[in-house]
Structure formats: C-alpha cells, structure tokens
Symmetry: C2
Subunit: 433 residues, 2 copies
C-alpha cells in the first residue's frame, strides 16, 4: 500500500497545476522564448551544475555504484553542452499546440472544432540521468505543460542544481518558475503516483522494473515501455550479406538500447547457409549466442532455455531460433515479442507484405535495422520516450505525445431539443482545417 | 483481490485474439460485408431475441428490478429494428483502418509510414442494455477488432440470443464467429480485468460506480467516464432569453445523460435579472433548484451543500451558484468540474475567448446546449462512448477510438551505425500522405 501524498506535496502539485494552466494559454512565441531562457539559465549555472555532479559522482564512488550507473550519472562539460544544445533545439521545434484536427459545421451557426491543447502536468521519474531532466523539462514547457520531476537518489545534487538553473531561466520569461517542481524523497516519488487529478501523465525513464512498479501503483496514465524484446527474422529469400549487416547492427550498435534485438529468427531453408556466417560474425563482435536445438546443430555453441525467448538481455547476448517458415516466425513474435519493433529481411515481396501486415508491434520493419526506432531518427526532433502500449501515443513519442485535444463548439443559442423534435437537422458539413 | 482468470476464459480469450488478428488484416469491403451479415443475422433471429428479452423482463419483474433498469433492459420490436438499422449504419461508416498519418523519407531508400491499425481485442462490460451489445459489436468488427462482451445479469438471456444471432451472421462472412465471445458470469467479468496482453481496451457502459471499479482493478486501458459534472455559466453579457433556453435544454432535455448540466453558474451582475426568470422556468419544468446563499436571496428556495457542487444528479435537480465574475466561474469549474463539457452563454467576445481557452474540459461550448456532446451529433456516425480522461481519445469517441497506429519502415539494408559514424545523413523529407 502506498501512503497518501503529504499536504506539502499536494500544495506544491496544486501550485504547479495553476502555473501550468496559465502556461498552457501562452502563445507559441512565449513558450519558445521560455525554453530559450531555460537554456540560458543552464549556461549561466554551468559551473554550479558541474560541481554538483562532481559531488554526486564522489558520493556514488564512495557507495560503490555500478559502473553503468556511474556513466549515466556523469555530466561532464561536453555532455552538459550537448544537453543545453538539445534544449535550444526543443525551442525551435514546431508548436504542437493549437492545431485544428477537425472542423465541422453541425448546422448553420453551430461550428465544431477539435484543437490540440496541453495535457496539463507531467510527472517524470528518472533514474540517475541528469541530462534527461533538461530534455524532458524543455519538452514539457515547449508543449505548455507543467512538470513534477523526480531524479534518482544518486543524482540528487545534480538535479537540484539543474532545476535551480532552469527556474532561474524561466524567471526571465512569461512562464512562472513554479511550473517546474523538483521532488526529492522516495516518499514524494510514491506520493506522485497518487496525484490523480493534479498530474495527467507519468513518464518513467529508467529500468523495466521501475516502469512496471509505476504501472502497477497508479491510476494516472503511464507513458513507457516495460520491455523491448525485438526480433529480426531472416526469411528464406533474404540477401545473406544484407541479413548479416542488419543482424549485427540490430544487436551490437548499442546493445543496451530497448530497440536492439534479443532474438534472431532464421528460416530453416536458409539457416544452413546463413548461420555459419552469422556465428563467425557474432563471435568476432563478442556476442554470445544461445540457440535452440536446430541452430545448435548448425554450430551455435550454447543452448537457449525457454526463458531466453522472453529475456531482454540489454547486453551482447542473442538468442537464435531456426523456424520452419514465415508463419512460424510470426507465431514466435506474437507469443514472445513485446510489440516494440520487429524486422524481416527478405527479397520476397509477398513475404514482406505478410510480415508488415501481421506483426502487431509499434514498429514493423523491412530490410533495415531495428535500431531506427527512435524519435530523432524518425524526424521528430526530440523524444519523450518510446511507448509499447497499444493505444496512441505508441512507439517513439515526440512533442505530440505531450498534447491532447479539446472540442470547441460555438453556437447561436442552439439547443438539442430542436434536433430531437426534428425542427432542425444536422448538416455535418466538413469545413477547411 | 481479484482471482486470476480461469483456464477456460484464458483459452477463449486467446481464441478471440487469434481470430481478431486475422480479422484485422481483412480489407474494408470484407469487414463492411461482415457487419451487414451481422445485421442480417439479427433480422433472422428477431423472434428469438424478442422472446429471450421477454423472459429476461419477466424475471426482472419477479425480482422487483427498478423501473429505470427495466426500461433499459426492454427490447421491443421497434427498439430492435432501430438497433438493427444502427448496425447497418455502422457498416456504411468510412473505414478507420489503413489511414496514412505520416509519410517521411528518412534517407534515400528508407521510408517511414504511420498507418492506422486495429487495437486488437476489446473487453466490453455493459449493464442491462441489450441494444448496446449490438452497437458495440458492430463497431468492433467494422474497426477490425475482436470483442469479449459481458452483459448485465438481468440481460443474460437477451445477450445470449443477440450473440447467437451476430455469430450466425458472421458465419456468412469472412470474419470468424469466434471473434465475438460472450462472457456470462461475474467471475468471467472479473477475470476479463486481468487479461492483460489478450485484451487491449476495456469499454465499460454503465454507472459511474461500475466505471470506477473497473479503473481501479485493471492495468488494461479503460475508455470511459466516471463522472459528468457539466456547467453552464451565464455571463453578465448573456442574452437573457438565450441563456434561459440553453439552461433548460442542458438540464431537462434528457436529465439522465452525462452531458446534462448539474450546476448553473450565474454572474452576479446579471443574477438579479436572470435568476427570477430561471426560477419560474425551472419550476414549470419540474426541476428542483438548490442554491448558494446569494441565489437563495434572489429566490432559489432550497440551499445547496458543499457536496452538491460535486454531485451528478442525473435527475431533474440543478445546483445554482452566483459567482462574482467570469474568473470565479472558471475557478469553480476547475475545482468541481469533471472535464466533460462546460458552456458559457455570452455576447462578449473577450469573455467567450477567455472561457474557451481556459476551461480544461473535453468539450468547451459557447452559446449552445451541453447536450450536443455526443458522437452522432458531432457527425461521427456512431459512438463508442464518451471519455473524460485527459489523453486521447477524449470526449465523444467514434470508430477512430478503436484504432491505433503502427510505424512501418522499409529500407534497403540500412543500418544505424552509418548514421552514428556520419557516413550517411538523415534527410527527413516529408512525402505526400
């Protein structure tokens, strides 16, 4: 059971909400300027941020934090400059607000519009990644949303210095600094999960365990993915050299990414030709292969257990399975996949079409690496995160994932009774957007 | 604690999912024909359905079911014909699938598309409304989704007869009858809430209590609204006669609807002129008014308690509050509203713009009745339900609320490493939709 949020947290969240409601009504230029001011605030506080991060790093070293976590926690001058440049880029992104998605005359003088509006307030929970704080805070303000930000314990000093800088920046804009609020304790982090009505979307940026815990303990919608079990299927009609390039890139280009493959499926008809090549190439790349019986017969040294098909290694490990045909590959993906991103390598148009139609994932790819599943690579300019939920927003989510819409109906005294009685009829005429 | 779904329910849900995956790949014409076949199935089974409903009604009478519930349960010939006509209309609605929402060349030969696809499987929980079963089942099939349908206990016989008819109809189409499955017991209804991975969206059609219970007991997304606390604000610059018409229609045209108003807010500057007229008109319409102190001074007979501002009466009762000005009205709506639909009546353009920008509800109206918040009235042809959640789909939800999207990326051997190393650059060129 999670305790109710403290009165102090409720008051601060309500404050963020009030500021966000005001922010949400500002124009494009005002929000753009505010994000630029945030970048300026970071620049002015560069030394303080780096010093705070250094202190966090020293404390982490004293506590013996794992090297992978230390790498994420570390914010040197170059990384900070990159993050500030990222904030400036967010300022230049096209405004996601005020877009008219629907425009219909319901009857003479009765006109319906659907326009994009901010969600309201975001609750963002990071593990020890100070750069993500800058990115998400700038995306929040650009899209007219307030945010409650909770960084990992190890990054506490860094996050506080960054928030101070961002709020100093906002003070030189029309956005109230209190539209951004930092949460610092585990109690506040848990309290955030119960801020229904004050927080509209929770964005967890961290481990699968973190995301799952949050999904299980809040009624607020969660944008995130709990698993990235991605597949590459090498069809019998694949170009062998291309398949090899795709398999290597999809696994090794950045194995810790959620869009890296965990399982390689190989059509039985091509496995005897493909697997020996792949085994050599993966050995050279330092990838450990775990195969089913058929792929072991063809040279994969180590066996895969049932659990391997559902495991996100996030490491240089790859499970390998020889399947009878395309249909068997589709069955495997439907059973073990996490609906993130799955690819086929083939020169057979019918097989490609079947795969693209049948695989029920956010990303379904033909003859390219799964590593393209990313907001920047898709051309969104920045990414809030990747969602593996079925409902939109799905896949890599850009600024548009932080907005919703509202129906506006303008009449001249129109009442429903006139349409029920038949005195008036709806025209439902589409108007230009 | 809710028990895990039974092996039998799991097997049936998995069956629906398999059939739905096949259905989701059928073309527009095939799905359209299937919905027409469902209508034909209902016609062929007209007598059996009416007889089953008669039996349900007799059992309900014996159990002393409340008259309002009996009215919803009742399915006479005219109501059934209307429902069948509704199913035929769903067949004629434009296909929500296969719409390209985004089309970008990421680089030469690497092309990204975003296309609409079905959600997969819907879980629909009705109270005793047999007509809703036909409506939702047809919307599900039209949009390429399978469905698990659970009707209220009182409508058990009616629902079974309807499902038999719908599946008989589907047998004469390319859609497998097993894409629709009826759940009959309370255990199955609870088990449905735990079918994560097999069910993609739960649609509750019933009381606020039902919706809230479901939201609290499932990780599956829920499309629904738990409250409809709608407001009409009569601004100081309102046309008095228009305000009166809107207030009466918004409250009395169908008081049980979620889009009927529960609270009338009146600008203090116009209250002395407006309220006496309104009090007479509402008295004539049989509406009980409950007012704050200021409106009691102006003639409202009965007092409102704090709880009244948060109460959805769903009846001929209306709370009335005199507010200092537009800003005070906005504050009241922000505090007590349920973000469903709120309206202003005014001739002042600045006040109208302020209200339309500041009210954070799914529907924000100017000079028209809140009763227009409805999928049919918006021109969607049919309605899945009305959602008061903040994220899309929001407000009245048509067929497009039953679809999601998928990214398809087609390459020619493209790998991410080439873009990281700088050998290749993204073009991010928009292509025609």
């Amino acid at each position: 059971m999670i305790a109710d949020p403290s009165p102090d947290l409720l008051a601060r969240a309500a404050q963020v909400r009030r500021r966000a409601m005001f922010l949400g009504q500002l124009g494009d230029g005002q929000r753009r300027q505010a994000v630029r001011a945030m970048a300026a605030g970071l620049e002015q506080n560069r030394a303080a941020i780096l010093a705070a991060n250094q202190a966090d790093l020293e404390a982490a070293a004293a506590e013996g934090l794992a090297p992978a976590l230390v790498a994420r926690l570390k914010l040197d001058g170059a990384k900070l400059d990159g993050a500030i440049a990222g904030v400036r880029q967010v300022a230049e992104l096209a405004d996601p607000l005020g877009r008219r998605q629907l425009h219909t005359e319901l009857d003479q003088g009765l006109v319906l519009e659907r326009v994009t509006v901010p969600l309201g307030v975001l609750g963002v929970i990071f593990e020890a990644r100070p750069d993500a704080v800058m990115q998400i805070a700038s995306l929040a303000i650009r899209s007219g949303n307030g945010a409650l930000l909770k960084g990992g314990r190890e990054a506490r000093g860094s996050c506080a210095a960054i928030l101070t800088a961002l709020r100093q920046g906002l003070a030189a804009s029309e956005v109230a600094p209190e539209a951004l609020e930092l949460l610092t304790s585990r109690e506040e982090s848990l309290g955030l999960l119960k801020l229904d009505g004050l927080v509209d979307l929770i964005i967890p940026r961290g481990s699968n365990e973190l995301v799952r815990f949050i999904q299980d303990h809040t009624r607020i919608p969660v944008l995130g993915h709990a698993d990235g079990i991605c597949h590459l299927f090498v069809d019998r009609a694949a170009d062998l050299q291309q398949a090899l390039r795709l398999a290597l890139d999809s696994k090794t280009q950045y194995p810790a990414a959620c869009n890296a493959i965990e399982t390689l499926l190989v059509d039985g008809a091509i496995a005897p030709a493909f697997l020996p090549l792949a085994i050599d190439a993966f050995a050279e790349a330092g990838v450990e292969l775990r195969g089913d019986a058929a792929s072991q017969t063809l040279g994969v040294g180590q066996g895969a257990s049932e659990a391997d098909w559902s495991t996100e290694y996030s490491d240089l490990i790859l499970s390998v399975k020889v399947v009878a045909d395309l249909e068997a590959a589709l069955e495997h993906i439907a059973r073990y996949g996490s609906r993130h991103t799955d690819a086929i390598c083939t020169t057979d148009v019918a097989a490609a079409d079947r795969f693209l139609a049948a695989v029920n994932s956010a990303g379904v790819y033909l003859n390219c690496s799964t590593r393209f599943a990313d907001g920047y690579r898709y051309g969104f300019g920045a990414e809030v995160g990747i969602s593996t939920q079925t409902l939109p927003p799905r896949g890599p989510v850009g600024l548009e994932g932080l907005v919703t819409y509202r129906y506006r109906l303008r009449g001249e005294g129109h009442i429903a009774a006139d349409y029920v009685s038949g005195v008036r009829q709806f025209s439902h005429r589409s108007l230009p957007l």
